[in-house]
Subunit: 82 residues, 2 copies
Protein backbone atom coordinates (compact mmCIF):
# COMPACT_ATOMS: atom_id res chain seq x y z
CA UNK A 1 0.00 0.00 0.00
CA UNK A 2 1.44 3.34 -1.02
CA UNK A 3 0.98 6.76 0.55
CA UNK A 4 -0.17 9.84 -1.34
CA UNK A 5 -0.61 13.57 -0.81
CA UNK A 6 -3.07 15.33 -3.03
CA UNK A 7 -3.51 19.05 -3.38
CA UNK A 8 -6.73 20.82 -4.32
CA UNK A 9 -7.08 24.50 -5.16
CA UNK A 10 -10.06 26.84 -5.19
CA UNK A 11 -11.50 26.07 -1.73
CA UNK A 12 -11.40 29.76 -0.73
CA UNK A 13 -13.76 30.55 2.16
CA UNK A 14 -14.83 26.92 2.63
CA UNK A 15 -15.98 26.13 6.18
CA UNK A 16 -15.10 23.18 8.42
CA UNK A 17 -18.58 21.80 7.88
CA UNK A 18 -18.28 22.03 4.09
CA UNK A 19 -14.87 20.33 4.15
CA UNK A 20 -16.28 17.58 6.34
CA UNK A 21 -19.11 17.07 3.90
CA UNK A 22 -16.70 16.90 0.91
CA UNK A 23 -14.36 14.55 2.79
CA UNK A 24 -17.35 12.39 3.74
CA UNK A 25 -18.16 11.89 0.06
CA UNK A 26 -14.64 10.46 -0.40
CA UNK A 27 -14.93 8.23 2.67
CA UNK A 28 -18.27 6.86 1.49
CA UNK A 29 -16.79 5.33 -1.67
CA UNK A 30 -13.03 5.03 -0.98
CA UNK A 31 -13.14 1.30 -0.23
CA UNK A 32 -14.34 0.57 -3.75
CA UNK A 33 -10.82 1.45 -4.94
CA UNK A 34 -8.93 0.21 -1.88
CA UNK A 35 -8.13 3.81 -0.92
CA UNK A 36 -8.26 5.39 2.55
CA UNK A 37 -8.16 9.12 3.13
CA UNK A 38 -6.47 9.55 6.50
CA UNK A 39 -6.63 13.29 6.95
CA UNK A 40 -7.50 16.49 5.12
CA UNK A 41 -6.33 20.01 5.94
CA UNK A 42 -7.66 23.30 4.59
CA UNK A 43 -6.29 26.80 4.31
CA UNK A 44 -9.49 28.73 3.51
CA UNK A 45 -7.53 31.93 2.76
CA UNK A 46 -5.53 30.47 -0.14
CA UNK A 47 -8.16 27.82 -0.89
CA UNK A 48 -5.65 24.94 -0.70
CA UNK A 49 -6.67 21.51 0.58
CA UNK A 50 -4.15 18.75 1.32
CA UNK A 51 -5.31 15.13 1.66
CA UNK A 52 -3.13 12.34 3.00
CA UNK A 53 -4.20 8.94 1.68
CA UNK A 54 -3.12 5.34 1.33
CA UNK A 55 -4.06 3.25 -1.66
CA UNK A 56 -2.93 0.98 -4.45
CA UNK A 57 -2.13 3.73 -6.99
CA UNK A 58 -2.22 7.42 -7.84
CA UNK A 59 -4.99 6.69 -10.34
CA UNK A 60 -7.17 5.01 -7.68
CA UNK A 61 -6.92 8.13 -5.48
CA UNK A 62 -7.76 10.34 -8.47
CA UNK A 63 -10.80 8.24 -9.39
CA UNK A 64 -12.30 8.52 -5.89
CA UNK A 65 -11.81 12.30 -5.80
CA UNK A 66 -13.29 12.63 -9.27
CA UNK A 67 -16.37 10.58 -8.40
CA UNK A 68 -16.76 12.54 -5.14
CA UNK A 69 -16.94 15.76 -7.14
CA UNK A 70 -13.53 17.31 -6.45
CA UNK A 71 -11.07 16.04 -9.06
CA UNK A 72 -7.38 16.96 -8.94
CA UNK A 73 -4.32 16.13 -11.05
CA UNK A 74 -2.01 16.95 -8.17
CA UNK A 75 -1.51 13.58 -6.48
CA UNK A 76 2.00 12.85 -5.23
CA UNK A 77 3.37 9.41 -4.31
CA UNK A 78 5.12 9.83 -0.94
CA UNK A 79 7.81 7.19 -1.05
CA UNK A 80 9.94 8.85 1.66
CA UNK A 81 8.76 10.02 5.08
CA UNK A 82 10.73 11.42 8.01
CA UNK B 1 -0.30 27.42 18.24
CA UNK B 2 -1.25 27.19 14.59
CA UNK B 3 -0.69 24.37 12.13
CA UNK B 4 1.01 24.79 8.76
CA UNK B 5 1.73 22.81 5.61
CA UNK B 6 4.64 23.92 3.52
CA UNK B 7 5.50 22.75 0.05
CA UNK B 8 8.98 22.61 -1.47
CA UNK B 9 9.80 21.92 -5.10
CA UNK B 10 12.97 20.73 -6.83
CA UNK B 11 13.81 17.73 -4.61
CA UNK B 12 13.92 15.38 -7.62
CA UNK B 13 15.90 12.22 -6.92
CA UNK B 14 16.53 13.09 -3.27
CA UNK B 15 17.07 10.03 -1.05
CA UNK B 16 15.59 9.21 2.36
CA UNK B 17 18.95 9.92 3.93
CA UNK B 18 19.24 13.32 2.26
CA UNK B 19 15.71 14.26 3.35
CA UNK B 20 16.52 13.18 6.88
CA UNK B 21 19.61 15.35 6.85
CA UNK B 22 17.67 18.37 5.54
CA UNK B 23 14.86 17.80 8.06
CA UNK B 24 17.44 17.48 10.82
CA UNK B 25 18.72 20.98 10.03
CA UNK B 26 15.19 22.29 10.65
CA UNK B 27 14.80 20.33 13.89
CA UNK B 28 18.13 21.62 15.18
CA UNK B 29 16.97 25.26 15.19
CA UNK B 30 13.15 25.11 15.18
CA UNK B 31 12.78 25.85 18.89
CA UNK B 32 14.40 29.25 18.41
CA UNK B 33 11.20 30.34 16.66
CA UNK B 34 8.78 28.19 18.66
CA UNK B 35 8.20 25.99 15.59
CA UNK B 36 7.97 22.20 15.47
CA UNK B 37 8.15 20.21 12.24
CA UNK B 38 6.05 17.11 12.88
CA UNK B 39 6.50 15.23 9.65
CA UNK B 40 7.94 15.58 6.14
CA UNK B 41 7.00 13.57 3.07
CA UNK B 42 8.84 13.41 -0.26
CA UNK B 43 7.86 12.42 -3.78
CA UNK B 44 11.32 12.10 -5.39
CA UNK B 45 9.82 11.73 -8.88
CA UNK B 46 8.12 15.13 -8.92
CA UNK B 47 10.55 16.60 -6.39
CA UNK B 48 7.79 17.80 -4.03
CA UNK B 49 8.27 17.85 -0.27
CA UNK B 50 5.41 18.51 2.17
CA UNK B 51 6.15 19.48 5.78
CA UNK B 52 3.54 19.56 8.51
CA UNK B 53 4.45 21.98 11.29
CA UNK B 54 3.09 23.81 14.30
CA UNK B 55 4.24 27.27 15.25
CA UNK B 56 3.31 30.83 16.12
CA UNK B 57 3.15 32.16 12.53
CA UNK B 58 3.73 31.48 8.85
CA UNK B 59 6.75 33.80 8.98
CA UNK B 60 8.36 31.81 11.82
CA UNK B 61 8.09 28.60 9.76
CA UNK B 62 9.57 30.39 6.75
CA UNK B 63 12.48 31.77 8.77
CA UNK B 64 13.49 28.31 10.03
CA UNK B 65 13.36 26.80 6.54
CA UNK B 66 15.34 29.70 5.15
CA UNK B 67 18.05 29.42 7.81
CA UNK B 68 18.17 25.63 7.28
CA UNK B 69 18.95 26.21 3.61
CA UNK B 70 15.64 25.27 1.94
CA UNK B 71 13.47 28.40 1.78
CA UNK B 72 9.91 28.28 0.44
CA UNK B 73 7.13 30.83 -0.03
CA UNK B 74 4.51 28.09 -0.04
CA UNK B 75 3.45 27.92 3.60
CA UNK B 76 -0.27 27.42 4.23
CA UNK B 77 -2.09 28.01 7.52
CA UNK B 78 -4.25 24.95 8.14
CA UNK B 79 -7.15 26.33 10.14
CA UNK B 80 -9.47 23.42 9.31
CA UNK B 81 -8.69 19.71 9.70
CA UNK B 82 -10.91 16.67 9.21
Amino acid sequence: MAKFMDVHSGFVGVTARQLEEAHGRDLAIESEEGVHFERAWLDPTSGKVFCLATGPSREAVMRIHERAGHPTDEVYALTVEV
